[in-house]
C-alpha cells in the first residue's frame, strides 16, 4: 500500500493489504510531533482503501503507549470520511486495543460512540 508506513516523532505506523482486509499497526507515542503527519497518512490511506474492494480495516493500537487529542482528531476525521461513503463501498474499522494502557478503553469508547456500532468495533485484550 502507499503509504505503507509512517514515522513521526515517536509514532510508528505500518499498513498492509490482503484480500478484503487492510491492517494498520501503530506503536509508540502519538503526540504533538505527529498529529499533522498522522492525519495526512490516514487521509491518503483512506483514498487508497476506498479504491479497493476492502470490507474491513483492522487498527492495532496495542503498542500505542499514548495518543493526544490532536492525534485523536486524526482518527475522528478519518471516521467521518468513512461515514460519508455510500454504504455498499463503506468499510468497517476494528480497533484492537489492550487494557495495559487504560486510556485506550476510554478514548475508544468515545470514538466508537461517535462512529456508531455499524462502523466501529473495539476488541480489547487483557
Amino acid at each position: 500500500m502507499t503509504p505503507s508506513s509512517l514515522q513521526a516523532g515517536e509514532l510508528r505506523a505500518s499498513a498492509s493489504h490482503s484480500g478484503e482486509l487492510v491492517s494498520l499497526a501503530f506503536a509508540g507515542n502519538a503526540d504533538g510531533r505527529a498529529d499533522s503527519d498522522l492525519e495526512a497518512f490516514l487521509h491518503e490511506l483512506h483514498a487508497e482503501i476506498a479504491a479497493l474492494a476492502v470490507t474491513q480495516v483492522d487498527v492495532d493500537i496495542r503498542a500505542l503507549e499514548f495518543m493526544n487529542s490532536s492525534c485523536f482528531k486524526g482518527f475522528i476525521t478519518w471516521i467521518v470520511q468513512v461515514r460519508r461513503m455510500k454504504p455498499p463501498s463503506r468499510y468497517r474499522i476494528r480497533f484492537l486495543a489492550t487494557s495495559k494502557y487504560p486510556w485506550q478503553k476510554r478514548s475508544l469508547h468515545a470514538i466508537s460512540f461517535f462512529g456508531g456500532s455499524e462502523l466501529i468495533e473495539v476488541v480489547t485484550e487483557d
Binding site: G9, E10, N29, D31, G32, R33, F66, N68, S69, S70, F72, K73, I76, T77, I79, V80, Y101, P102, W103, R106, S107, A110, F113, F114
Partner: protein, 172 residues
Amino acid sequence: MLLIESERGVIPASFSIRFSPSAKLIVVVRRFVQSFYARVLEDTEMSSQLALATHELLENAVKYGTTNDAVLGVSVAAAAEGRDGYDVDVSIRNSASAENLAEAKRVIDALGACDDTFAFYQEQILIASERERGSGLGLVRIAAEAGMRLALDIVDDELEIRASAHYTPDLS
C-alpha cells in the same frame, strides 16, 4: 505534615516543577506521573487519568503559551475531614494571551454548565472533525475521559488551569 500510610502507599504525594515543556519532555513527565502515581496509588486506571491530564495540559501550555516556561503541579492528598479517599489535582500555570485565556474560559464555562459531559464531548468531537487546525479537544477530553473537573484562575498574572477529582480507592 500528616502522612497516611497504608497498603496503597503513602499520601500525600505531590510535586511541582517549572520547566520549558518541549514535546520530548512532555512525554518524559507524563511517563513519570503515570509510573509514580501507579506505585503510590496502586491503581493504574487513576494514574493513567492523571497522566492524560498532565499531557493535555502541558501540550496546551506549549501551543498557547506566550513564553517558553510553565509550572506543572500534581497533587494527591487525603480528602478533607469527613470524606474518605483522596483529592487529586493537576494544574498548569503559564503566561497566555487574552485571546487564549478567553478561549480556555469559554470551554471550561461550557463544561461547567453542561449536564452531560460525555454528550458535550461528542458534540465537540463532531466540531473538531471540521476544524482546519488543532482539535480544541484537550480540555474536554480531560473532563470526559479522565472524569476531572476543570477550573481556571489568574495567579501572578499567569493563567492557571486546574483539573481535580475525588478518588475513593476500591478496597475490595
